[in-house]
Amino acid sequence: MTHQPNPTGIGAALKRKEDPRFLRGKGRYTDDINLPGQSYAYFLRSAYAHARIKKIDTRAAKKARGVVAVYTSADTAKLGGLPCGWLIHSKDGSPMKEGKHPVLAEGKVRHVGDPVAVIIAETLAQARDAAELVEIDFAELPAVVDMAKAQNKGAAAVHDVAPDNVCYDWELGDKAAVDAAFATAAHVTRLELTNNRLAANPIEPRAAIGDYSSATGEHTLYTTSQNPHVIRLLMGAFVLQIPEHKIRVIAPDVGGGFGSKIYHYAEEALVTWAAAQLERPVKWTSDRSEAFLSDAQGRDHKTVVELALDKDGKFLALRESTLANMGAYLSTFASVIPTWLHGTLLAGQYTTPAIYCNVKAIYTSTVAVDAYRGAGRPEATFLLERVIDLAALETGRDPVELRRLNFIQPHQFPYQTPVALVYDSGNYQATMDQALKAADYAGFEKRRQAAKARGKLRGIGVASYIEACGIAPSNVAGALGARAGLYEAATVRVNPTGSVSVMTGSHSHGQGHETTFAQVVSDKLGIAFDQVEIVHGDTAKIPFGMGTYGSRSIAVGGSAIVKAMDKIIAKGKKIAAHMLEAAEGDMTFENGAFKVAGTDRQKSFGEVAFSAYVPHKYPLDTVEPGLEETAFYDPKNFTFPAGTYICEVEIDPDTGAVEIVAFHAADDFGNIINPMIVEGQVHGGLAQGIGQALFEHCVYDDAGQLVSGSFMDYCMPRADNLPSFNVATSVTVCTHNPLGVKGCGEAGAIGSPPAVINAIVNALKDYGVTHIEMPATPQKIWRAIRSAKKK
């Protein structure tokens, strides 16, 4: 980058460009958009988890006041199903079993909330009123809720293509080597655990508006998406069969996503399709209750994990067997989450030489499960960091020392794990040391005693995580079953007066890209931060994009911008060489100026830009006018953020209530563009991880009803449930992308659940408690204490 420190460049904690509009109520979220002649859609959803649809009578609803149309599968059956983007093969080589995911239920409903009909009316109230008049004759079928029972002979099948409800039975690793290692182990630690099911719950509910122009045949969809081009591709090619050049997808300001707004949902396709049928805009906005029944949920694993150690505490092998809930339909990326984004992370920060992972994906009569912040990696980190803590407890070792003993050492990078990944860089001792120091780990025993004197049980928990981000090298992803490439695109448009517009395929829904990406441009081109505009979220403005998820925006999207800027600089050198009557090879570019090396002759970036658009003294024979470049960046490898988190809790033994009294995070994200924004990302991730550990749970009853289906019942973390966080970073640079960045979006949610649970188990050690399932509610803890007292 440039040699002089740039106050608006990489590393500056700049205030965000986005903030003034959000703070003044001037954000433009999908539900804020109203189009002339707009109608309103209301989705009538199944109240049953599993039922045959015998008959639907929409006659009365169609006649109701204000109703424009009522559609059922009779109208939409010719449309394609919602596709899954990743093909997983079972260990026997057979492809996963994919049941059709229709936009409106065809023949039967498969979960509570499955849409059966859509009512479109002049007002939302009229649409809701008319929905009451739709008569549906359901024949209830047994719900499939429990993943183990789902596989039993005689259990109802969610999809005919998967009679035993097994979508796939996948494995990774050298089973024979693992079995052999276990046979010789001095100690084996075994743990059964659940990774609790979560609702992403961005505070903005999903919304979609379809619009159609009969003059141009163009369809426009406004939607709450993390990846508008992906939606255009999936909806156009698979569901509606409309060519991409006739579809424009706009994802304007989006109020949080956390994964749940990656996927292509039925409502998006329905409003787009219906708008063309009716030749008027159709708007749908989810309410929160509907979100609980229709947004893809996260996690939901049942796992057995075993760790084999030698007599010195060195890890010999790890074995995992997991049931992963897919819900009723395969959502866009559902299949890859518990497989390639999970099993590949089981080495963690350790030199475990042999690892084997078996994951069975199960269909159940519940909402679809897909990526939620972390996506497969929190599940891997949780089981690994829990089983290590338990092994330390069982073998009488300090959990920190056991981790240190097994850490991959700094000189071992690049490090090939036994589960397919090559870590390019890291320093796990460094983040561990940083966290221990911040937490005053050495002084904990004193604090425990002081708490004891106050009648409280104090515990400390450590967790060291790794994640694979910057998703993903397309050829690798393709070999593993991806049905798409995972590069990113960017156009850098230098305007005639030297300002810059960047069109990026990444999408910002809270991450602050308009600020961080502008810092990268300011740094690289040496121009003022306020001369850079970041444009995102509109397929008509942006060349292409794979969107924002998997902490990929800066590592992949940012790299695409750098690549485009490299082309701008290369062209600028040609133009400047001509202007300065120098050889192109003698030109350098630094601090915003093109210079003839070794002289004081130079042209500013603005002068070169102007010349490109007013090419009077210009090498027209060899260089085109204009200064605009597009680049696609396909990452060479994943990036590997890593760190250590330490949580300290106090438990009231009389009530089981947990208070987090301190939380320390030490992360290595590689180079950091804006430390203020990075800290904010960590804070948010920590809150979601702590939410998983202590509060959140999608609870289904035996009939498949979501019992915790509102903010009254699903316990979202609130301000008074959480502490202030102590966060710090250290840097090992990513070796394979031009910014040396690793990504920071998901780390907090990945590392924190095991840190919290390890702290709780540590606090309860005198009661002989060895594990507490998430969420560790006061009731669970109180019961654990009480049953220990009875023994």
Binding site: K15, R16, E18, D19, P20, R21, F22, L23, R24, G25, K26, G27, R28, Y29, D31, D32, N34, A125, N201, P202, I203, E204, P205, D253, V254, G255, G256, F258, D287, R288, S289, H509, G510, Q511, G512, M676, I677, E679, G680, H683, G684, G685, L686, A687, Q688, S710, F711, M712, M716, P717, R718, A719, D720, L722, S724, F725, G748
Partner: protein, 170 residues
């Protein structure tokens, strides 16, 4: 349909609404003030918080007709031209927002806290935010912003405006 007359951000407005129309619907749909957001349907999230006669109210819990004759302030009514309200400025300064969706409700609620308890400490700020959910920030920076925002609101008082009058009541 009932007709309601009220003052919104200092302007007299009238609107025809159904009896079941909520105040938030009146603001967003009839008046086009889309800065007030709806994040839930059980009055938990607080994204719809506005001021009615100077007190914070979840506008999804109030019928439009109940707001007749009252003075309502929304997030759009806080800034003085391009000059942000001190609480808005504090949220920007302390990175108290990410996606921005809960932000209007947070800011409106925080300004009401400043009036209720200008001495609020971190614990009291966290307790006050019981009715406002944020999924992005982990609340860490929101709490920092509110503590600073309250100070800034009080600090403005000597310039001829009390913390109270720098708030939003009628």
């Amino acid at each position: 349909m009932p007709r309601v007359a009220l003052t919104v951000n200092g302007k007299a407005v009238t609107a025809e609404v159904e009896g079941r129309t909520l105040l938030v619907q009146l603001l967003r749909e009839n008046l086009g003030l889309t800065g007030t957001h709806v994040g839930c349907d059980t009055s938990q999230c607080g994204a719809c918080t506005v001021h009615v006669n100077g007190r914070s109210v979840k506008s999804c819990t109030m019928l439009a007709v109940q707001a007749a004759s009252s003075a309502v302030t929304t997030i759009e009514g806080l800034a003085n031209g391009t000059e942000l309200h001190p609480m808005q400025e504090a949220f920007r300064e302390h990175h108290g927002l990410q996606c921005g969706f809960c932000t209007p409700g947070m800011v409106m609620s925080a300004i009401d806290l400043a009036r209720h308890n200008p001495e609020a400490d971190e614990t009291q700020v966290r307790e006050w935010l019981e009715g406002n959910l944020c999924r992005c920030t982990g609340y860490h920076n929101i709490v920092k912003a509110i503590l600073a925002g309250i100070k800034a609101m009080l600090g403005n008082a000597p310039r001829g405006k009390s913390a109270k009058s720098r708030g939003t009541s009628s």
